[in-house]
């Protein structure tokens, strides 16, 4: 083991470790705990190395540590594909490299890795708080880079940080410039995120328990701004998914191909498809714009019955919106909705009817039996619906903590437990309808949302909801929400008003400020933060949506060469201003002194003739140098120099005018 030749100095190490710790903390929420522990050990080890108390790891130990890390990563993640295992791998390499810093170049590597790892965090979280923290991290890493270049001798401990701040401040105009003009490029690759399930929100299947799980989370789902006033709470049904297939326990999407219509998605800008004719839209549409959090899925949410108003958004055959790409980052889209509508009133084709009447044979015999009995005793479909709703209204309890259900889940729910969450009600209702021969489907999405004082709507995971749609002769698809029969406050107000006292509500978001909304000032603070984050999402993260229009307004048209020209123009202008700013103070200092001004005039004159004055070159050296190559000027130059020197340095009364005249009389022709 050779001893390290290069030793990092104290201040350099200090900043390096500070930056290291900041970068690790930045990623702490998606790194396994043992890496955090390893990072701590690495810091201690590094400090002990500096104090020469411990020895650097030998080759054997290094190999062992590397093996341990790899094994830990495999145990933690299994597959190396995905963002989180890759970041974890990089971080473990980063902390091992910290122990291996034998040369200056190793320290550079550690710092550049830190820059990269810091930037990676933006893939996980782009909220305003996290962005500020990332900037803070960059500042510290920059300070570490500067600290590496300084020495202990003549610098204060904090000097690198001050310098880093200056550099960051200087980079600010460039950052703004790039932000405004640089076209946003879509991701060239996409890596699946490991934690998707926790962040997806509503999934494309519905089993008992799914929605009650969401009821425990206060995480943000999406935010909506309406062009006009926000409609009443009970009409805010955010349609996301249509679930038509039931296997006895789980409701899932029926594949679109079973509709057998061609062109099942009508993208924004496409000509209307034939199936667009079967919807009857009446009255004025509501126009709204949604900023949705990343879900890794393609479906979007809109009020019934929607039409997309943004590029890359389409309307599907079952009248919901989807995105052209999975939502890997926040997305903003606009849509129009017609609250008064009739969906397929003319009738269902036999295939569709089959899809919406499908039921597995071997489940829930009691429900089937009851359905056929009631079917015979009522005069029409509407009466059957009100009878079922009355059933729900009589005995049922709406709760986040429903009992577990066995094989015949609908039977057990309807006849035994009678306690459930929205998925139980919607699922059992649709089952009942189908059993009674009425085409029905489950619609999943969100219901309601919190009105922010700044006039937009915040929809959180606990607003997730499922309801039913049934098809009635002459009316088409009609929304029926059995939950409304059991817990009308859920629909008219929000979940908290029904379940606020249940311990499971928000159980997964213990620190969520929503929990404390009864405390006045805290609620105020929460709304402020919420509003800040929304505007951040709208104007900074969503800028690419505005960019095209903005640039068109600014430049007249947004062809690439115009954008490039604008960037170069503004950038060049900034640099020019910077240059002027750097030159000006010195110039003005100079202009204070007439003698010096005359001397500078002489310098300019000689520079034009091809003899620029060097930095630090004194007048005598300079004129002698020029006279050496241009002997015909020697006499005059000596005279001017003598004059300048005596006035300037010998304390003779300055006579700038005579000097000016002499310099003026100096005739220099370029060719000589």
């Amino acid at each position: 083991m050779t001893s390290p030749v290069w030793k990092i100095h104290r201040n350099g190490l200090f900043w390096l470790l500070v930056a290291f710790a900041a970068v690790i903390i930045l990623h702490a929420d998606h790194l396994p705990n043992w890496i955090l522990l390893a990072a701590f050990v690495a810091i201690i080890w590094r400090i002990q190395l500096y104090r020469s108390a411990w020895r650097p790891p030998s080759r054997l130990i290094k190999t062992g540590l590397l093996g341990l890390c790899l094994a830990g990563l495999v145990a933690e993640y299994g597959s190396p594909i995905g963002l989180e295992p890759m970041v974890a791998l990089l971080v473990s390499a980063y902390l091992l490299k910290l122990l291996e810093m034998h040369h200056r170049r190793d320290a550079y590597l550690v710092i550049f890795l830190a820059f990269f790892i810091t930037a990676l965090d933006a893939l996980f979280d782009q909220s305003i708080g996290n962005t500020l923290y990332i900037i803070g991290c960059l500042l510290l890493v920059l300070a570490a880079l500067l600290g590496l270049h300084g020495s202990d001798g003549n610098e204060g401990q904090l000097r690198p940080l001050g310098k880093a701040m200056t550099i960051m401040a200087q980079a600010l105009p460039l950052m703004l410039l790039l932000f405004i003009f640089m076209p946003r490029l879509g991701a060239l690759w996409s890596v699946p995120m490991q934690q998707q399930s926790a962040k997806t929100g509503v999934t494309d299947t519905m089993s008992p328990g799914d929605f009650s799980r969401l009821g425990r989370s206060g995480e943000l789902a999406f935010r909506v701004s309406f062009e006009d006033a926000i409609p009443s709470q009970k009409s805010l049904y955010w349609r996301g998914l249509v679930l038509a297939e039931f296997d006895g326990r789980t409701w899932s999407r029926s594949s679109l191909s079973r509709f057998q219509d061609s062109n099942l998605v009508q993208w924004y800008g496409d000509p209307p498809k034939s199936w667009d004719q079967v919807v009857d839209r009446k009255g004025e549409p509501l126009t709204f714009s949604v900023v949705i959090e990343p879900t890794q899925q393609r479906w979007l949410y809109a009020l019934d019955t929607p039409k997309p108003d943004s590029e890359g958004v389409g309307l599907t055959r079952d009248y919901r919106l989807i995105s052209a790409h999975p939502l890997r980052s926040k997305k903003q889209y606009r849509a129009n909705s017609w609250p008064e509508y009739r969906l397929e009133p003319q009738g269902l084709s036999s295939q569709h009817r089959a899809v919406y009447l499908q039921l597995p044979e071997e489940f829930n015999p009691r429900t089937r039996e009851l359905a056929s009995r009631w079917r015979k005793s009522v005069s029409g479909d509407p009466e059957l619906v009100s009878r079922v709703m009355a059933l729900y209204n009589s005995e049922f309890v709406y709760t986040l903590q429903p009992p577990l259900l066995g094989k015949h889940s609908v039977d057990e729910f309807l006849f035994d437990s009678q306690r459930g969450f929205c998925e139980h009600f919607a699922g059992s209702f649709v089952f009942f309808m189908r059993a009674a021969g009425i085409p029905a489907r489950v619609v999943a999405g969100y219901q309601g949302g919190e009105r922010h004082p700044d006039d937009y709507l915040v929809v959180r995971q606990y607003d997730a909801h499922a309801w039913a749609e049934i098809w009635l002769e002459d009316r088409g698809w009609v929304r029926v929400d059995p939950t409304a029969a059991v817990a009308p406050q859920r629909i008219e107000q929000d979940l908290q008003s029904v379940l606020g006292d249940e311990t499971d509500f928000l159980a997964d978001s213990p620190a969520s400020l929503v929990r404390f909304r009864h405390i006045g000032w805290l609620n105020q603070l929460r709304l402020q933060i919420e509003s800040l984050n929304y505007n951040w999402a709208l104007w900074v993260l969503g800028y690419d949506q505005i960019q095209t229009a903005f640039l068109r307004n600014l430049l007249g048209d947004n062809s690439p060469w115009r954008i490039a020209l604008a960037m170069i123009g503004v950038g060049g202008g900034l640099l020019l201003l910077l240059g002027l700013w750097m030159l000006l103070p010195r110039r003005s200092e100079r202009s204070r002194d007439q003698l010096d001004r005359e001397f500078l005039r002489l310098c300019q004159k000689l520079e034009k003739a091809g003899f620029p004055r060097q930095v630090g070159e004194g007048p005598r050296d300079y004129t002698q140098r020029v006279a050496g190559s241009r002997p015909e000027l020697a006499r005059q130059l000596v005279e001017v120099t003598r004059m300048y020197e005596t006035m300037r340095y010998a304390g003779e009364t300055p006579d700038a005018r005579t000097l000016a005249r002499t310099i003026h009389s100096l005739r220099i022709n370029r060719s000589g």
Partner: protein, 305 residues
Amino acid sequence: MRQVVDKLVTSIGRVLIGKDEQIRLAITCLFAGGHLLIEDMPGMGKTTLAQGLAAVLGLSYNRVQFTSDLLPADILGISVYDRNRGQFEFHPGPVFSQLLLADEINRTTPKTQSALLEAMAEGQVTVEGETRPLPHPFFVIATQNPLTQSGTYPLPESQLDRFLMRIELGYPDPRSERELLSGVNPRSRLAEIKTLLPAKQLLQIQQHVADVKVAENLVDYLQRLVQFTRDDPVFYYGLSPRGALAALQCARAWALIHGRQYVIPEDIQAVFPTVAGHRLRGAGECANQDGDVLASLVLNSVDIL
């Protein structure tokens, strides 16, 4: 004044061929009242220059060859018991002279080197508890080998700072070397050198140096030079105020020996490398750079205006 200096230069130039610039700088140093350090490889004429200067100025002159076993008492002097008179008698060492030539000063141990320290700084020595003044004027001209040479003890920074100037001689140009090789050994002419500037006149000149005018904006220039060495990361540490003062003093003397009563920027530039060179240390990429290179870096980075 110019003629006087020119005469001095030609006179010494006869024993040290082709080094007029360095001779002029050495004279500047003595006029400015400072001690001189001459650094170069063995056999480049360091001792010859020192001896030539001593001869021309007609100062009482002692030479000490510094060796590794030299003791402080060998320089300062020692009290010896006189049996006849029954008391101790002080025998002054070679330091009690107007010009002390400390040859190869970095061959001796730090202990002995530091014995010179008080003498150089205070113009007095303390031996066995008794402080004794040194003659006036008192100069030390020290020569040393570059530190890369074996068997040397580097002078500590504190001692380097006592020297007003450090000059390097460098190899002679081919023409001078030819003259040197074809003629008689110039060193033999040392004995022929006559005193050209008596000590009394030297003291007068030293007073004149203080009268040389330095314009305000030249002080600004010097301050900028000094500030640059303190701010720029190329330097491990910057010039001390004593260093700045030394540069100003030398620039004055340089102006004077060129027959001017005022300093021009070129004066500062001419003496700056020799004054600042041994007081600067590079850091970072310039850690191993020669002092002269660092000094010219300063001069090329700071404008005179």
